[in-house]
């Protein structure tokens, strides 16, 4: 049985990785937040998940990454064909899943470069030398326009909102996951920071990366054009479509769409 799974896993690795969510229900502190989510994100695709505050977008992000305290009550999440719902966050990351946090946590006393090197070694199953890693990191920093000073500071400690999000994108660039969930990476940013962060993400998007872009606002989509847009309300995906859905949403607002759906 175990052997079969290994074989299947190795086969899957050569195929396009996909995150397949079906019938997903989850509770937080006894309250049902996700009420049946179906969604497939493949490597190379960009999906935007939009919705008003409290619709369950961030809960979905946390459930997908395996945050403790989020109780799965039904459904499954397959990644590379494997059910990952029982796996710890580190195992999920090692399989190629990434979450850019809405509120990145401070790690006092641990520099960005040391943190990233530990993470790199863990997801790549390598023991890269400090020097070789610095070089790799430098390439990504140049690409994203990250200054040297930032990576020598302690992770997120004393970082501005923009720096925190930039740091998330830098981690995404260095760890090279197959599927990345970006949880409101545009929130709390002024227009310049938004542009810098969005441009960074835009550069990372390609055939090797699948993205689930969670956002409350339309503004991120001025920089990144998704292949698919999903609208989430009250723990369900209520509408899915192409990029045109974003424009429709902008005109009608979430309330407008809610009424329309309610009537229809």
């Amino acid at each position: 049985m175990e052997q079969m799974q290994t074989v299947r896993e190795s086969v899957k690795r050569t195929e396009t990785a996909a995150l397949e969510i079906s019938g997903l229900r989850a509770r937080v502190e006894g309250k049902e937040i996700l009420k049946g989510i179906d969604l497939v994100v493949r490597q190379g695709e960009v999906h935007a998940l939009m919705g008003p505050n409290g619709s369950g977008k961030s809960t979905l992000a946390n459930v997908l990454m395996g945050r403790p305290g989020y109780e799965l009550t039904a459904g499954q999440v397959l990644f590379r064909g494997q059910d990952i719902t029982g796996l710890s966050a580190d195992r999920r990351a090692q399989l190629g899943l990434f979450l850019a946090f809405q509120y990145p946590t401070e790690i006092p006393g641990v520099s960005v470069v040391n943190f990233l090197r530990s993470a790199y070694n863990a997801v790549k199953s390598e023991q890269i030398s400090a020097l070789a890693f610095r070089k790799r990191l430098k390439e990504k920093m140049n690409m994203l326009g990250v200054e040297d000073a930032m990576v020598n500071r302690y992770v997120n400690q004393g970082f501005s909102g923009g720096e925190k999000k930039k740091n998330e994108v830098l981690q995404l660039a260095v760890l090279e996951p197959e599927i990345a969930i970006l949880d409101e990476t545009d929130s709390g940013l002024d227009i310049d920071s938004l542009k810098a962060v969005a441009t960074g993400i835009q550069q990372l998007i390609g055939p090797n990366l699948g993205v689930l872009l969670i956002t409350h606002y339309q503004r991120m989509l001025n920089y990144i054009t998704p292949d698919h847009i999903h609208v989430m309300m009250d723990g369900r995906i209520v509408s899915s479509g192409g990029p045109e859905l974003a424009h429709e949403l902008e005109k009608k607002g979430y309330e407008g769409l809610r009424k329309e759906l309610g009537e229809g």
Binding site: A89, D90, P108, S118, A122, V123
Partner: protein, 454 residues
């Protein structure tokens, strides 16, 4: 290895033997012995001893001394002692106390030529009586507790340092206290005197193998003259079985600066009091502390930052991690005296609990008697590794044990960043790493056992 002592117990016979031997100014031992006999064991009913109950601590079960032969120089010192001294960077001097005897004190000839004194306290009593006057037992009077009285009556060995005015001692001086005689009571004493405008770094290191029971009753007296700069490091690395009680007090005069670091990794029970009194205007004090407890170790740290002079500043930062069933108490007091103007005082204690059975209490306290604008702050925390931080780290692929190691290493980094002595910082980092490795492997084997049981 240790010479057999003829008398046991802390009685008049032992006192008489020590009086014949010398090593203390006239009358000191007798007076301290009277105090020792008159004073009760500290009671846990007092605030000071609330968390460390020593009423059943049987002093009569310890040997009052184990004398060792003197060594001409470091070549005459047993290799295991030198090894215990740890990695030693460049030093201007090294003294070694083996059990009850300060067996050697080596001072760099250059420092000696500039008038620096570095010798056993026993010898200093006869060679430098004038320098001891108003200093020995003056920062920490024998009458303070039954233990300091005992120390005054029965101390042997000890280290004395005197730096003349204007002299900068280039490299640190280090004193090693090494005990390998079971059931021994030792009385390490460090007396450091810095005259005006001088500077010195001094490292005290306490080392032993794991023993049945040993009592270390230590006193550290630091006198920083006007404009002087003193760095003082105490590395407590006793083996298990040791009960360590220490009192350290620094007198900081006008514009002087004393920066101390207290490290506690060893002993079964360690109660350390560290006090700084800022006597002159413009003096400053930094007090750093690092502790890492395991199994059923008990650490009781107490501190006082006492501001008498105006424009004085003090900053205390103690950080500790506890695993197993280790227990830590931190209790600190900041006092701004009446008439002390424009003082700055900060006090921070943070504890990280790595097991559910570990326990820590943190009791910061401010006593502001001055009515002049002062800036005072304190902060304390006790808790496990933050769940959100762990999840964030693990979401990057880093497994739990490694994530925990990163958080705890980072937790100590704030203190380590302020430790300027490279070899001290290196040795702290190594010890913390070792403790965390042990923690991780114990956790794994514990889990394995659980899994097996299921």
């Amino acid at each position: 290895m240790a010479a057999v002592t003829t008398s046991t117990g802390f009685d008049e016979a032992t006192l008489r033997r020590l009086l014949e031997r010398g090593g203390a100014p006239d009358g000191v031992r007798e007076r301290a012995f009277e105090q020792f006999q008159a004073m009760p064991m500290p009671s846990p009913e007092t605030e000071e001893w609330r968390y460390t109950d020593l009423r059943d601590f049987d002093l009569s079960s310890f040997l009052p001394s184990a004398e060792e032969p003197f060594a001409e120089n470091l070549d005459g010192v047993a290799p295991e002692l030198l090894e215990a001294a740890g990695e030693i960077g460049e030093r201007s001097g090294l003294s070694i106390q083996h059990n009850s005897t300060l067996v050697t004190a080596h001072l760099d000839p250059e420092a000696r030529a500039r008038g620096v004194t570095f010798t056993s306290l026993d010898d200093a009593v006869t060679t430098h009586p004038d320098l001891l006057e108003e200093r020995l037992h003056h920062a920490v009077p024998t009458v303070r507790t039954r233990f300091t009285a005992m120390h005054g009556a029965f101390r042997t060995g000890g280290t004395f340092v005197h730096v003349p005015a204007g002299v900068d001692v280039r490299f640190p001086l280090q004193a090693l206290t090494y005990v390998d005689a079971d059931a021994l009571a030792v009385f390490p004493h460090t007396l450091v005197v810095l005259e005006e405008g001088s500077s010195l770094t001094f490292i005290d290191r306490y080392v032993s193998p794991d023993l049945e029971r040993v009592f270390s009753n230590a006193v550290v007296e630091l006198f920083a003259g006007p404009g002087s700069r003193l760095r003082y490091v105490a590395l407590q690395e006793w083996g298990s079985g040791v009960t360590h009680l220490s009192v350290q007090r620094a007198h900081v005069e006008r514009d002087a600066e004393v920066r101390s670091l207290a490290v506690a990794f060893g002993a079964s029970l360690a109660r350390s009091e560290a006090e700084t009194i800022l006597l002159g205007d413009g003096g400053s004090s930094e007090m750093l502390g690092v502790y890492f407890g395991r199994s059923d170790q008990h650490f009781d740290h107490r501190s006082i930052q006492d501001h008498v002079g105006s424009r004085t500043s003090s900053d205390l930062l103690y950080k500790g991690a506890l695993r197993g069933q280790a227990r830590a108490i931190y209790s600190g007091n900041v006092i701004i005296r009446q008439g002390a103007h424009q003082c700055d005082a900060y006090q921070t204690n943070r504890n990280i609990l790595l097991s559910e059975r570990a326990k820590a209490d943190s009791i910061p306290n401010l006593e502001i008697l001055s009515n002049d604008p002062v800036r005072c702050g304190h902060a304390a925390s006790v808790g496990p590794v933050d769940e959100d931080t762990l999840f964030y780290i693990r979401s990057r692929g880093i497994p739990e044990a490694e994530a925990q190691r990163l958080v705890v290493t980072g937790f100590f980094q704030e203190v380590l960043d302020r430790v300027t002595l490279q070899e001290v910082r290196g040795s702290l980092e190594a010890t913390i790493a070792t403790e965390l490795e042990r923690e991780a492997s114990e956790r794994l084997s514990g889990r394995g056992a659980e899994a097996h049981a299921v």
